[in-house]
Each structure stands twice: as structure tokens, then as C-alpha cells.
Amino acid sequence: MQAGAQWVGGLLLLVAAAAAPFLPNWVVSLATIAFANALVVLGLVVLWRVGLVSFGQALYYCIGAYAVALMGRWIGFTDAIALVLLGGIVAGLTAAGIGFLLARYREIFFAMLSLALSMILYGVLVKTESLGSTDGFSVLTPTFFGYAPHGAQLSRALYWLTLAIDAIAALFVGLYFRSVAGALAAPIRDNEIRVEFLGVSVTSIIHTKVVIAGVLGGLGGALAAMTIGHVDPAMAYWTTSGGFVFVTVLAGSGYVAAAFIGSLVFEVVRSFAVDVMPQLWQMTLGSVLLLTILFLPEGLGSLVSRLKRRVMKPGTAP
């Protein structure tokens, strides 16, 4: 069944990649942002499986984004692939450091501590006038191994890069979920004592999850920064984190692919809501979330499970 899900995911990805030349520029950009943000959501899914919610994932998103922007500003470095990796690494290192603290907390304390840390970064950036304070600053146009596309070409190049990073991340997270560390999510949620007495450090498992989520957040932020062409402190603001949590609830934690589809749905709903009824878009999002929680408590992903149950005759289920 797992293998089946992977094939479907791979196929969707190829379709998404092949569609790019036929889509208008704004759609490509919207999808790029959605798929970049989906990486952050995937990180939240990793945490959510073990019962943890971070209301400060924008911290890593912002770090990834600023890492990209600052490399351009300081040394004029613009290679997109190297910059994305850099964003992931810097955010991952930050998570590795913070993880020593975070991994000792659970539930609301974990959530609030994450939030607090992201708001510290926000505060620092707002106060840093050399980086444009609340206005932020712009990101140099990225290049690809010396090739410097513009306009629609650039949008598509970033879109494809984002899809490639998504594919690698999805593959990695899929493998991770099937490893001992990944499979321990439910056991840790259920009974930490038993896990410790089986010889595993719960703290270090959670620490690893914090780092994975941090790397994914940084990759997402780096891709978003290049796509938007601009960074500002709002990327670390709690409403940004809240948006990621929103999509995580929308997507559910059952399937890796749900993070990407959920993120796309979110961006589409948001952009239409903002265009069509600018005063009501928060209300629209709120209603979507309400409906999700009421009718799809396990997220969009559970639609797939329901469908599968309906299609398969009883007895043939795995």
C-alpha cells in the first residue's frame, strides 16, 4: 500500500511539473509558494504525529528566507540550489541548538515556547534598521549554475526547483516515518516510560524531529524568499506560524502528500478570498477550518482512506 501511495505521489508530481509551461505566470508563482510552504507543513506533520504542535515554525521559515536574502546582500551570491540548501542548513542548525531546550517540553509548553522563540526573532528583525526593519529588503534574482532566467522562465525554474526539493523531502519523510524513530511517534504519545525502558531516549527522538521540522521550514522559507523576491520580519510573525498550523490541520497527518495538497488548497482559497472578498477572507479561512475539524477531523488525507475503504471490497483490505 505504501508503495502504491508513492507511485500516486510521483505521478501527481510529474503532472504538476509538466503542466508548468501551459499555466499562466501567476498560477505558477502561486503554486510555487504553496509547494514551498508545504515543506514547513510537512515539518509540522512530523511533530504532530508525536503529539506536538509548534506555533513558531515561522522562525525557521524566516531564517531560511533571510539566509538567502543576506547571502545576496552581503556577497552577491545568487545560485538558487546552493541557497536553498543553505537555508535548510542554517535553519536546521538553529533547530539543533534550540532543540536541546524544546525537546524537554510537551503539549502547550512546547507550542508556546516555539511561539516565543519565533517572536524573539521577529522583534530583533523589526529593530534591525540595517535590514530594513519592518519593510525588510529585496532578494537578488536567483541564478541556476550561472544561467539567469527572467520573467516566466524564472518562475518556472523556481517552480521546478521547488517540486524537486518537495520530492526529495517527501521521499525522506516517507522513509523516516517507516524507521524506528518515525514509528515511535505513536508510542511516545502513548507511553514515554515504556519507550525509555525499551532503551530509547525520547528526548533525542523529539530533538531529531525538531531538527527535521527546522530543516524543512528553512528549505520552505528559502524557496519562498526567492519566489517572492523579498523578505521581511512578518515571515517570522505568529500569524505566519498560525497559517502553517492551519494547513497542517487541513491536511492531516496521515499522508505525506496531504501536506502538499493541503497547502495548495490553502493558497488557492486564500488568493481567491482576498480577491473576491477582501474583508471576509479570514472568515472564509475560519469557516474552512471549522468544517475540516467538524467533518474531516483527520484532515484532507482521510478522504483518501475513506475512498479506499469504499472502493475496496471488504476482505481485500490490507
Binding site: 524507521s179 514509528a183 502513548d190 507511553n191 525502558f197
Partner: protein, 258 residues
């Protein structure tokens, strides 16, 4: 026979309360040791110190001649000591098979810092080990039942089965038959003890039922007020007048009540 566990001058205090004191015990390999004592006598505290759940206030614990005093529980597990709990500690939202798989996968982890990530939880090796453990503990009927729906006895067996997955050389069982009806106790202990014999594991078990102790223990330690007041063969300890007065007598009265 070589000594597997050596405990010297062990003491544990909680503020003013002395939960364990002057404990000196040496356990040879392959012995089955029963531990008796009234409620609050310090039996669980004793086990908790050996398995690293509690750090002793004083004294030393040697496992296979290695000092393990005060080490964290997961490290002690790694060295070869496992335990079960007075209240079975299992993963309630997973099935029996999934519970066993987790335990087996942890036991079969690849070495190194990233062992937890590099080892798949389901592999031919781990599923075979899980199936074997389910068979050894005779809970195949419940293989696909979610653990929170299991009868008490099966929970206990699952808890012990998971503890055994890591191939420990010493296993500490804290009241394996608590919460089990009298009729079922002997069957449960038979399953457990024969499984442990197969695996050649040295066992120390806490038990309130003197008949069970007499039947399964080679040697019995009697705890009273935090310390060992009698130590000998099952007959020696159970016939000890002090033990009868302070422990078994109390239990018999308690038993008459129930």
C-alpha cells in the same frame, strides 16, 4: 555460577522517608528470585533503583561486574537489564503485533547515532522477531487487537514480551500477576517462566501470592520496612517465623478479606 547482579549497601530516601536501606543481595546467573513484602515495603523502589528509574541515595549496583549505579534507564536497558511494570506499560493505541514490532525493531537497531532513523520498523527481521515473541508468550489470538482492549492477563504478557524483545540477561518483573484472578495466575506464570527459561534469562519477580512464590522461585527475598529481613530458598524464607509474622500473615488476613 557467576554473579549477574550484586547490590551493596543500597539506600533510598524520599525526604524523611526511608524507602530502602542496607540492601545487600547477590544474584547468580539463571536463578529465579522471588521478592515478597507488604505494601510499601520497598520492593518497587528496589527494582526502580536497579533499572535506573530511581537513583539510589547510597550504595552500589553491579551488573555483570559493571557499576551501573545511577545510570539512566535506557542505558541500563542497553546493557542487558529489562523490566515489566506493576501496571503494564504498553502502547494502548497500537495492536499487540505493532507493540511487539516496535520493541523488536528497537532491539534490532543498527548501531550508531542514527540507528533509530536508519532502521526500518518493519523488516523481515523485526516482524519475524515480533511473531516469535507473540508465539512464545502465547498471545497469538490477540495479535491484531488494539492493546487498550486487551484482558489484564494479556496486557501483562505483552508488557513482559516487550521487555524480553531486547534479549536481556536479567529481567525484573514487578508483580506480574497483579490484577489477575487467582485461577489465571498459575497459567500466566507458567507461560512467563517457561518463556524465560527458553531464553535463559535470570529473573527477579515481585509477588504477593505466597503459593506462586513457593512454586516458581528458587530463592526468596523478604522485604520489610525498606530492607531485606530474610533471604534463602523459598522454603527457608517462607517458613521463617519473622516473615510469617510480618509478611505472609498480613497477606493471609488481607486475602481472607477479599
Amino acid at each position: 555460577m557467576s554473579t549477574i547482579l550484586e547490590v551493596r549497601d543500597l539506600e533510598k530516601t524520599f525526604g524523611q522517608l526511608v524507602a530502602a536501606r542496607d540492601i545487600n543481595v547477590s544474584v547468580p546467573q539463571h536463578q529465579t528470585v522471588g521478592v515478597i513484602g507488604a505494601n510499601g515495603a520497598g520492593k518497587t523502589t528496589f527494582i526502580n533503583m536497579i533499572t535506573g528509574h530511581l537513583s539510589p541515595t547510597k550504595g552500589t549496583i553491579l551488573f555483570e561486574d559493571k557499576d551501573i549505579t545511577g545510570k539512566p534507564s535506557r542505558e541500563i536497558t542497553g546493557l542487558g537489564i529489562s523490566r515489566s511494570f506493576q501496571v503494564a506499560q504498553i502502547f494502548p493505541t497500537l495492536t499487540v503485533f505493532e507493540n511487539m514490532c516496535i520493541a523488536a525493531a528497537i532491539a534490532h537497531r543498527k548501531p550508531g547515532m542514527f540507528g533509530n532513523i536508519m532502521t526500518p520498523v518493519r523488516s523481515a527481521e523485526t516482524t519475524a522477531a515480533a511473531e516469535a515473541a507473540i508465539e512464545l508468550f502465547q498471545i497469538g489470538r490477540y495479535r491484531d487487537v488494539t492493546a487498550n482492549a486487551l484482558p489484564q492477563g494479556v496486557r501483562k504478557l505483552l508488557d513482559i514480551g516487550m521487555a524480553v524483545a531486547g534479549s536481556p540477561r536479567l529481567l525484573l518483573l514487578d508483580e506480574p500477576t497483579s490484577g489477575i484472578s487467582i485461577e489465571e495466575k498459575f497459567d500466566l506464570m507458567n507461560v512467563v517462566m517457561s518463556a524465560l527459561k527458553t531464553r535463559k534469562i535470570t529473573v527477579l519477580f515481585v509477588e504477593h501470592d505466597m503459593e506462586i512464590v513457593a512454586r516458581f522461585a528458587d530463592r526468596v527475598l523478604a522485604f520489610y520496612d525498606g530492607t531485606v529481613i530474610a533471604d534463602g530458598t523459598a522454603h527457608e524464607t517462607l517458613d521463617n517465623p519473622k516473615v510469617q509474622e510480618l509478611i505472609s500473615g498480613v497477606r493471609l488476613k488481607a486475602g481472607a478479606h477479599a
